[in-house]
């Protein structure tokens, strides 16, 4: 069987807002059926990339294909088969859950005979059956987020864009959403998810692309990224600031990969430092180490 065509393909995509270059010559190919994580600090261009996939932002340069449709010309056909969960809540605050889902079932052209069922299914996904007739304004933040996700799934899309889907959710709701994403993926749905929660990217994504300054600076499975950019082990050295500064200049002199991490200094790829390494605590390297090594940015 030939390799399946990518669900999303971007080639040399640039997006400028006046002087600001939000996306800078981006190449990206998302194979069908995977959960693809876009990990990047604030302002990296994740949301802008997502908005270009629905043609709500038009690329200044480059070509974009979604589900085999050429954007922006055929974007409407692509949107038909694509669900979107935006970063910013844009639920209709004046409508009830059921009304919102009903309206979007129409907007996504769910046939009349299937609409009722689609709405009920979405209410189940959102776990809001008991609040179906509550006006959105009266829902809690977590409920709203769940409804936002369910709204994007009303038409059983085969591609779902999730822009920071779990921001501001309590751990339990986040877990629920994670299992939902898992089950979508096992149904063969392609997911593109942006996040700046490392744990989320690590736990859910088949492939993670680290985005910074509008381009992808590294890509691979979480394990590959950790292996390549942070090594197997990290050595964390604790101590008063002047000691850390001393170790840091030693690290610079010796060309050891390192980073400041709160009250500690972390040496990456510590498995290669045996014998000459300073005293510290060894632990396995994780995606956060790789991320910080790549972007130079600390993250929560």
């Amino acid at each position: 069987m030939p390799a399946a065509a990518p669900a999303i393909q971007l080639e040399g995509v640039t997006k400028r807002f006046g002087e600001i270059v939000a996306v800078d010559g981006l190449d990206l190919a998302v194979p069908p059926g995977v959960c693809f994580g876009l990990l990047g600090p604030n302002g990296a261009g994740k949301s802008t990339t997502m908005r270009m996939l629905t043609a709500q932002a038009l690329a200044t340069e480059g070509s974009i294909q979604v589900l085999g449709y050429e954007l922006p010309g055929e974007s409407k056909a692509a949107r038909m088969e694509m669900g979107v969960v935006p970063q910013q809540d844009n639920l209709d605050v004046e409508l009830t859950c059921r009304q919102i889902l009903g309206v979007f079932a129409r907007l996504y052209r769910v046939p009349r005979a299937e609409r009722q069922e689609a709405v009920e299914r979405a209410l189940d996904i959102a776990n809001l059956r008991g609040r179906a007739d509550t006006i959105v304004r009266e829902l809690s933040g977590g409920m709203r987020r769940r409804l936002l996700v369910a709204r994007g799934l009303i038409h059983r899309p085969r591609l779902v864009l999730l822009d920071e889907p779990t921001v501001g959710l309590d751990p339990q709701v986040r877990q629920e959403l994670w299992s939902l994403i898992d089950s979508l993926r096992s149904e063969g749905v392609t997911l593109l998810m942006s996040t700046h929660y490392i744990e989320e990217a690590e736990r859910l994504s088949d492939t993670v692309a680290v985005m910074s300054g509008g381009r992808i600076i590294a890509q691979g499975t979480p394990a590959e990224l950790v292996g390549t950019h942070a090594g197997r082990e990290v050595l964390e050295i604790y101590g008063p600031p002047d000691r850390l500064t001393a170790v840091e200049s030693q690290a610079i002199a010796r060309g050891w990969r390192h980073r400041r991490s709160g009250p500690a200094l972390a040496l990456l790829g510590a498995e290669g430092l045996d014998g000459e390494a300073p005293q510290g605590v060894r632990r396995p390297a994780n995606l956060e180490d790789a991320f910080v090594a790549l972007t130079g940015q600390e993250i929560e």
Partner: protein, 273 residues
Amino acid sequence: MSADTAVPAPRRRDRVRRLSRLDPAALAGVMMRDVVLFRRYWKATTFSSIVQPTIYLVAFGVGFGSLVSHVGHVRYVQYVATGVVATAVLFSSAFPGMFNTFIRWQYQRTYDAILAAPVDVEELVTAEILWVSIRAGVYGLAPLVVGFFFGLRPHPGMLLVVLIGFVTGFGFCAFGVLIAAIAKTIDNFNYVTSAVLTPMFLVAGTFFPISTLPHGLRTIAQFNPLYHCVAVVRDVSLNTIVTADLLHVAVLVLWALLMWRLAIWRLQGRLID
């Protein structure tokens, strides 16, 4: 999964073609939202659409009417009752055009959500305007109904008022959308309300004939769509239709078409980055 992703070319072409511009399903979906909201707010809307003409009729028709008994051959109360139709249409279309657009786009971000679905700006804007103008056309009858209690005589031609109100409302709603697409903040609407809409509504032959105005103003009034609306509404309601009414209707249609395209064009530029 492979069956899903391997979309044969012919089917794909079909799909693309089937999603025409101004797809009725997209228009219906967007209007559905308005209908749902209307079910909640119809009481307030109906209340104000009855009370407003009543106030005008009492203040002008009865108050002024004691000074002015006729305009031409028309009793003053009939003159005002038919004239105020245009006012009702103006208020129930230009304001929703401005405020709903701005609020749904900027504050509630509803438009962002809709545009992520298979709905284009053209469809979104058209559906919103269609709904407002249908409503404006129907509520345009309210002043006539109120007028019946002040001595206006019912006439079958009055049913055409719905249509005229629809076309006029379409233009004014689209004008409102255009203003919302240009405005930086919602306060900017004050400029339009005071400098454009208020004079339009006063100098339209609603309360006094524009023939009483000095020549310059009279010429300007010709460019006021509301003036043309007032003229046709009065003629169909009082059964005094003349050929010139066709010209008035043509102006209203042109106005609606022009504003419609301008509104789409401007909002497209603001909604799509």
